[in-house]
Symmetry: C2
Subunit: 283 residues, 2 copies
């Protein structure tokens, strides 16, 4: 999916919601447990209930891999069921030496029809670039993640030899943090139509700095909902002229109810997010 197509979807649906299919077999309602493929039955119902309210679905590959090859098959069926009217994200956090990243790109862009894959930047340029070689496909590189572990490395200051004054009046001029270095460096490897970054909603203090470094890139923003981030705050701080954000909610939507009404409960939550998003899109 091209950037223009994604921007159009956001306009058409008045939504920048991404629904995260972190489907945990242990959390699937009891009445589906007898189905041939309970994870797929669950996903189908969630997709049917939310597809007009969101522009993207994010498959968290870990939850499928933990079921072995049958889980991988469920992922394939789910992606096929979603179809072409949503921006498909493989939340896989891959990244390896060049010949291996090329195989991951093949797995998620050729064997599976994902539009994008999340990529870890630690190993540098040759681990990221193979994902940028497919027209209409995207690498979504980890910038500043939503978890507490972000403080261990991502938020640590880098060395003086590469000091980079960010020039924000509200912030002391000083050492660039690792995540800022990642945004600045990785953004030079691709373009705004094949590269996005992950920026966690729980890190809202950093969003203005993020937008100084990468004003035009799309951000994939997890951390709203179960992790505590504010949709209002990150929308205000991170949106750009072409919206520029996809906000993911996983648990807050797909596990809104543990009962037979899980799909209608999921729709209710997704609708609340979409309606709130519509108010920010008006501005």
């Amino acid at each position: 999916m091209t950037r223009a197509e994604l921007v159009q979807l956001i306009k058409d649906r008045k939504s920048y919601l991404c629904v995260g299919l972190d489907t945990d077999p242990e959390k699937i309602p009891a009445h589906l447990q007898g189905e041939e493929d309970p994870m797929f039955s669950f996903n189908k119902a969630i997709i049917d209930a939310t597809k007009d309210l969101c522009v993207s679905y994010k498959i968290n590959t870990a939850f499928y891999e933990s079921q072995g090859w049958k889980g991988w098959q469920t992922m394939e069926k789910t992606v096929s069921y979603i179809g072409k009217e949503h921006f498909l994200i493989a939340d896989a956090k891959r990244g390896d030496i060049g010949n291996t990243s090329s195989q991951y790109a093949k797995a998620f862009f050729e064997q599976l029809p994902f539009d994008s894959i999340t990529v870890a930047p630690y190993m540098g340029h040759d681990s990221v670039k193979p994902f940028l070689a497919y027209p209409g496909k995207w690498a979504i590189v980890l910038g500043l993640t939503s978890n507490s572990g972000a403080a261990d490395f991502e938020l640590q200051p880098m060395g003086a030899s590469e000091r980079h004054a960010v020039g924000d009046a509200g912030r002391q001029i000083g050492a660039e943090k690792l995540y800022e270095r990642v945004l600045r460096t990785v953004s030079s490897w691709g373009k705004t139509d094949n590269l996005m970054f992950v920026a966690g909603a729980t890190q809202s203090d950093e969003f203005l700095h993020i937008r100084q470094i990468i004003p035009d890139h799309f951000l994939l923003v997890p951390g709203v909902g179960a992790q505590g981030g504010s949709l209002e705050e990150i929308s205000r701080k991170a949106m750009n002229a072409e919206t520029g954000i996809l906000v993911n909610v996983s648990r807050g939507i797909i596990y809104a109810s543990a009962g037979k009404d899980f799909d209608t409960a999921a729709r209710k939550e997704a609708l609340a997010y979409q309606q709130e998003m519509a108010t920010y899109l008006r501005g």
Copy 2:
């Protein structure tokens, strides 16, 4: 597999060789292409030809994922065929927020019987710790990788506020590099019997510093062979009292011949590595 069991295997086989099963369907010899599962047939022959010469097999998950669910099935069959007499590494470079890393741990330690998995450190403690919660299982965290992209972030100096004098006479006291920070920080999260680090053989200039930070941990060393690292040099610089290194060779062994003799050619290469290793183990 416990550390004591791994150390015993190394003594018994006079080898610290890990054979990397980066099995590329396009490189499988023609005479196997008609088999029901050519990747598995290839792997079986490689395993049969090398199992007495190595102590470990490393499955590069990317090559299996690129074949979809059938590839995942091939991975399962391969791991099962290897059995319990080798240290099994899932070279998967995983790492995500806590609840997701737990699912990856379930995938590779419960659903599949791997002894270890390679883990990317970028997201910090909660992305790594779920892999340390299984007795007898290991996280192998990326320290300094073998690829050219290591220069982009891993080798960059960290900030002054956390300067850490490494105290090596042969090295200027100064800013700690990102990979050194990773080794120092991550090593505090686990023990030498559930945590290893990746250190690329192409980075031999850094091995003495690595051993100053983590003298006792096992290192998984890729980059010998196709990537150009020297077995002699990294063995001299990185071995410790319990050997402390596993040296991986993938392409240099499994693609030693593209013909019908691929398995005997692989054995010849593996034997040369094992015999060279035996001379370093004598010391």
